[in-house]
Amino acid sequence: MRLLQKTVMGSALLAVQGFCGIVGNIPLGPLLNQADAVVVGTVAESTAGAGSLAINLTVLRPVKGSNTMGSSILATWTSPLFSSTGLTANAPQASPLVGHTGLWFLQRLGSGWAVLPLATGDVRANGIYIPVPSGPLPPAYVYQTNASLHTKILQEIGAAAEDPATAEPISRLEASRVLVGLDQTPLLALLTHLSSSSQTIAKATGLAGLVRQGIPTAPLALSAIDFGAFSGQVQNNLSNAICEYRNTDTAGVSALGVLLNSRYQDGVRACAAHALREIHTLQAALLLEALFGDASARIRYDAVIGIAQFAMGFPQAGLADKATVIASFNPGPSVTREMKQHFPSQSLFSTNEQEYLSYWKMWLSAHSGQQ
């Protein structure tokens, strides 16, 4: 095994390293395409240098590429941010990540490999791989060598989601929306499997993913469970997923209506209202109208916009593609100038809420029988 060159970190720090930075998560689909190799590997050695981290990975399972089980990969992660700021390391210990097992995305770099991080911006060492268990895959997650790349990745992630040691990072991974865009069939199969897991966090990860995918049984399940059974972070993940639910199915819309109830925390209610605003059915519009007197200005605004979008025949769009969809949407001839004038920005809405609330209440009253 080739030894990594070690760089001694400065030991006489005069100041605490206090800093901050923004991190943006990258979707896994493009990352998989960009990577020449994807492996499950354990860090055997590492060296932190100026603006870079060198690691020696022992391959446990090759997922993409020609690396074999038990082989070693020398890979480097370079962070422009750390180079530019002159900070000498991204983690405080001299040999960060040693012993950590994860899914690594690697790209050929000359005769070596470069680590493709999972995020952009102020990425730290823990943001350059997906933590997974170091043992063999449980039977439910074993895959064939000729399985599709997306299936392999999702099986590895599934195994990690059900392992108590890695369940939380996988929950955060799902919440960061990076799974959206992977092949629907294996993704839905994984999320469905997780949603019936005996592990609390894994179950929540599965439910959150199914909600994000617009599966009507998922909000129905959420409306029937006690959110208090989950940790605060998992509750946040679940409520954030509700914001992204898009499906006109009546049972799912009814479940969103249940989640508007005041017994739920504000984040859940706000996301249920936001999801209803994007569904554009009469059933959703009537639920939104009932929110015109809500204590939350954000919920009142979403209620108005939801009815306006329904009235104007907005196409349904997911969170990721709404900007594209609305840029090519031209309302039909039934949309009047008056209706458009009553589709306010948030700031305009706040200046005269009653004007917009009254208008859309009257519109819905006049049109609800015609739908």
Partner: protein
């Protein structure tokens, strides 16, 4: 509009406006011919021209007569009626055609409107051959308004800022909606009404238009773009300028130990002025102050460095760190405690900009204080939107 005309049918044929051509009768040498013309077409000025005519020609006929009477409609509404007749009683001149009973109607669709234009004409011809012929004809033309095609939105991200999926310029095309054989080739003129200062147009007289964002919209589709081709106007093409608006905090907050200190991660959402998420839009933070100590003595805490993220992310979070060397600074930092400490160390003023990963560029959407405690960090004095 009605113009009584003298029309040479061979010219009409050359222009391709002949609706029907028949040789209905002839005397013994087959040289006496009767013509009927009934045509509708768009012309260069974008008007609709109806061409109606009846003619008899012949080498051996001393006398011929031609008459036409007809109507023009748009839909079921009659917009014109007319009649004309001519006769010839001169000498027999080989090769000399008879005169024509006929006329044009020229109408501007900006006045008469779009729709189905039709003509209905009765033609009567006779010659010395005693070949009196009466026939009817009709023509039709569907006239559609000009339209504008293309996206109906751009993004204002600060002057000249452009990001994948959030273009600040877009291209529109004027569509004349003329038929394939029409010649309505007038150059479209473009006008903007409503909130016209929200966009700029590259040209005022052109087919292909470039629209650039100048200012954000306050209501959906609050700009109207119209084209006019030869006075025939399109319906307004509604248009919106979207813009980033706010960063909402926080759908999740975590405090974790790092070495001898801590990292706080705040998970945020970037929204536009209509409450929609803006995934993947480049973003940056900047600091508008240095460290401001909240503890005496305040020594050894380093100043955070600003950063940005480029386009393409699916979600984002902000990290606030203090670690490595905690024992040597004042106040001393530490791992997050079960009950988080209320001892403040320092704060720094933060500004957030959307639309660019370059520090300080883009639209400011939020300001706050990053408040560092000895075992965690939080935001305070949050203002978002900061530019309502």
């Amino acid at each position: 509009m009605s113009n009584m005309i003298t029309l040479r049918l061979n010219l009409v044929l050359g222009l391709g406006l002949l609706a029907s051509l028949s040789s209905w009768a002839q005397c013994s040498d087959s040289s006496t011919l009767h013509y009927a013309v009934d045509g509708l077409a768009r012309i260069a000025s974008n008007n609709v021209r109806a061409t109606i005519g009846t003619q008899t020609t012949g080498d051996y006929s001393d006398y011929w007569d031609a008459a036409a009477s007809g109507y023009e409609y748009v839909g079921a509404t009659q917009i014109h009626s007319g009649a004309d007749s001519v006769g010839w009683g001169g000498n027999d001149v080989p090769g000399y055609p008879g005169t024509i009973a006929g006329w044009y109607w020229n109408d501007s669709p900006s006045t008469t409107g779009a729709g189905s234009y039709t003509t209905s004409v009765t033609h009567r011809t006779d010659s010395l051959c005693s070949d009196i012929l009466v026939t009817t004809s009709s023509a039709s033309l569907t006239v559609n308004q000009p339209t504008i095609s293309g996206p109906n939105a751009v993004w204002y991200l600060g002057n000249g800022q452009n990001q994948t999926g959030y273009a600040y310029v877009t291209n529109l095309t004027a569509v004349g909606n003329c038929g394939g054989s029409d010649t309505c080739s007038s150059t479209p003129s473009w006008t903007v009404t409503g909130n016209s200062t929200e966009i700029s147009l590259q040209c005022t007289s052109c087919v292909s238009q470039t629209v650039t964002a100048q200012h954000r919209s306050d209501t959906f589709l609050d700009i109207d773009i119209t084209i006019s081709i030869g006075g025939f106007s399109s319906d307004p093409f509604p248009f919106t300028v979207y813009a980033p608006y706010e960063i909402s905090c926080c759908y999740a907050l975590t405090d974790s130990p790092v070495s001898d200190g801590f990292v706080t991660r705040a998970y945020l959402n970037l929204l536009d002025r209509f409450g929609d998420n803006l995934p993947g839009l480049a973003l940056n933070e900047s600091f508008t102050s240095g460290d401001i100590g909240d503890f005496t003595p305040f020594t050894g805490w380093s100043t955070p460095s600003a950063s940005g993220i480029s386009a393409g992310w699916t979600s984002f979070y902000d990290q606030m760190y203090a670690y490595s060397g905690c024992a040597g600074v004042s106040p001393q930092c530490e791992n997050p405690q079960t009950a988080l400490s209320s001892t403040k160390a320092m704060h720094i003023l933060q500004s957030w900009q959307a639309g660019s990963s370059n520090i300080g560029q883009g639209i400011q959407v939020r300001t706050d204080w990053q408040q560092f405690y000895i075992d965690h960090a939080r935001y305070s004095h949050e203002v978002s939107p900061s530019n309502p």
